[in-house]
């Protein structure tokens, strides 16, 4: 290997998948580590470029981390994610990062936080939820509102039904678009559920992520409930190749989602072209 005085940001580290958790029929969480331990230490909301060398490379949000590994939850939607879903523990992957700005933690310290997520959109939000739990004294009340298409499509069930409800001063509300015989919880879409639960904007910051259509209606619901644009934070996705603001494609106006995002306040988003 050539001796490099500088690190080339476009060349990944060799990593290994050490554990795979099947979250739903089309979502798996991959635990990735390297020979030297955790590939890097991201802040909540930051991203990683993950690759199978012979298939491709794509940007994913990092949903959580341990002392020795990163956790990346991936929905099966295309060629690379299909191949990743077929991988077994022990698989070598390429990994580089961390990328992006992450959640603006300063905005959250001392506040009550309302997390609203749909489907795989819980993945980036979960990194912040876990951070808030680890640094519990720095944050106020935590309220997690989450929805998926069906009970089988709920991601991170252990967190939703066991871990998070046990956290002090934390509330979890779950809905599904359509239940099954065993489902005793709420049925209905996330935005309507949010309006029904009627959280007060007083002293709160809201974080939302999910399918674009859900985000759109959740933002409307939050505005209806009296949340201001600077109280609402969301995280975006775009097609990315380089991850470092050079390859061009993830721009929203003059900002690159890989570098200047993926986290934006609604106030920032309203100043940017509506092209995501």
């Amino acid at each position: 290997m050539a001796v490099e005085a500088r690190v080339n940001p476009l060349v990944p580290m060799e990593g290994r998948i050490v554990k795979i958790i099947e979250e739903t029929p089309d979502v798996k969480t991959f635990h990735v580590t390297t020979e030297k331990g955790k590939p890097f230490t991201p802040m909540p909301g930051q991203l990683a470029m993950l690759s199978l060398f012979e298939v491709g490379e794509a940007m994913f949000s990092i949903t959580s981390q341990g002392p020795e590994h990163l956790e990346i939850a991936i929905k099966r939607v295309g060629m690379l994610t299909e191949a990743l879903h077929e991988a077994e523990p022990g698989q070598t992957v390429g990994i580089r990062g961390p990328y992006g700005n992450g959640f603006p933690l300063d905005m959250f310290y001392g506040k009550d936080i309302l997390f609203i997520a749909g489907g795989i959109g819980l993945a980036p939000v979960r990194s912040l939820i876990n951070y808030c739990i680890e640094h519990r004294e720095k944050f106020g009340h935590l309220w997690i509102i989450y929805g998926a298409r069906s009970p089988a499509d709920l991601c991170f069930k252990q967190d939703l039904f066991e871990n998070w409800p046990r956290v002090e001063n934390c509330r979890v509300d779950v809905t599904v678009d359509k239940g099954d015989e065993g489902w005793k919880g709420h049925e209905g879409f996330v935005p309507a559920f949010v309006e029904k639960l009627n959280p007060s904007p007083e002293g709160k910051v809201a974080v939302t992520c999910g399918p674009p259509i859900m985000i759109k209606f959740v933002l409307q619901s939050l505005e209806k409930l009296g949340f201001r644009d600077d109280q609402i934070v969301t995280t975006l996705e775009m097609r990315m190749k380089c991850g470092i603001g050079k390859c061009g494609r993830c721009n929203l106006g003059s900002r690159y989602v890989c570098l200047d995002g993926p986290v934006f306040t609604l106030a920032q988003l309203k100043e940017m072209p509506n092209e995501y």
Binding site: R6, E57, V77, I244, G245, S254, L259, P273
Partner: protein, 333 residues
């Protein structure tokens, strides 16, 4: 001031080529291209600029990034040897010289340095050539570019009737001239012809501010109607820097490479799962013009156009950025 006789220039190029790869516009298949100088080519340092910009010397069309070997679950990557060759670019026009500065902004600033680009760029000396005549599609002066004196170059050449005036701009440029030794002669009172003044006059004043209010304007539907989405404009543009990253598998080995990409193609922004934030040519053409005239100025403080005129010269349906600038300034909000 020193000068070199026209017939001695190939000798100088040959001398430089002993210690570096010398790229200079040469005639090939009826057009002008930056090619390595091997002592035999036909120099094309006349009035017209090269068909393609020299950006591929710093940012090749395809470039291997690393190699990999896959064996079952195991895989190993090997970095490619870094680019160590020295390059000398001779005959770069003022417009293309400006484009190097814009590429530097993209690849060398804002938190990350692109190592592939840096290695080539740092090992390169640039010898500019002043323009004495403008093509009908030239409009470099719109962006404050002086066709007679390029920015950020090592040596400035100016054509004379029987040779070229040579002026070292940097120390590295002086070293290049020192290598020329007895090939050079004192220029005396030789005065070069005046720099070319483009006939295509474009006033870009206020265009960024106007565009900031035009994202939703119906103008984009109208101007994109005839666009074929062929991408020729981005391919020929000296400031277009978008790239794709792909892999090529050869049995259980392979390599990852990057290659030029174009915002004019639908695949460019299409995400896995099918969602495409720029689904039609209206959004794509709008993004191209806004990138040149609004987004790049907002991000880097400069227009990402150098007025070389290649896109308007070669667009098969005459989409013309100078016309877009004029029309944008005129449309009612």
């Amino acid at each position: 001031m020193v000068k070199i006789a026209k017939e001695k220039l190939p000798v100088l190029l040959q001398a430089w080529a002993a210690g570096a790869m010398v790229f200079v516009p040469q005639e090939r298949e009826g057009t002008r291209v930056f090619l390595p100088w091997n002592g035999e080519g036909k120099l094309a340092l006349g009035e017209e600029n090269t068909l393609e910009p020299p950006k591929d010397l710093f940012f090749p069309r395809t470039e291997t990034m690393y190699r990999y070997k896959v064996q079952g679950q195991d895989a190993e990557i090997t970095e490619v040897p870094s680019f160590e060759d020295k390059m000398i670019l001779v005959g770069v026009r003022s417009c293309d010289a400006r484009s190097f500065a814009l590429m530097d902004d993209v690849f060398l600033t804002k938190g990350y340095v692109d190592e592939f680009y840096r290695r080539r760029r740092e090992n390169t000396r640039v010898v500019a050539l002043a323009c004495t005549e403008a093509a009908p599609t030239c409009f470099c002066t719109a962006f404050g570019i002086d066709p007679g004196r390029a920015e950020g170059v090592d040596v400035q050449m100016r054509p004379l009737d029987d040779g070229y005036l040579l002026e070292a701009v940097t120390e590295a440029g002086q070293e290049l001239l020192n290598q020329a030794g007895s090939l050079l002669e004192e220029a005396g009172k030789a005065s070069p012809p005046g720099a070319a003044l483009p006939s295509l006059q474009v006033d870009v004043g206020g265009v960024t501010e106007k565009l900031q209010q035009m994202f939703e304007h119906p103008y984009w539907t109208e101007v994109s109607r005839k666009c074929l989405g062929c991408g020729a404009c981005t391919y020929l543009c000296p400031t277009c820097h978008c790239f794709d990253i792909q892999s090529e598998n050869l049995g259980n080995t392979g390599y990852k490479f990057r290659c030029w990409d174009s915002c004019m193609f639908s695949e460019y922004t299409r995400m896995a799962g099918g969602h495409n934030p720029r689904p039609s040519k209206k959004e794509r053409l709008r993004n191209r013009f806004l990138h040149k005239l609004q987004y790049f100025p907002e991000r880097y403080g400069k227009f990402a156009c150098v007025g070389c005129g290649r896109c308007l010269d070669r667009c098969p349906v005459n989409v013309d950025i100078t016309r877009v600038i004029r029309e944008v300034k005129e449309v009612t909000l």
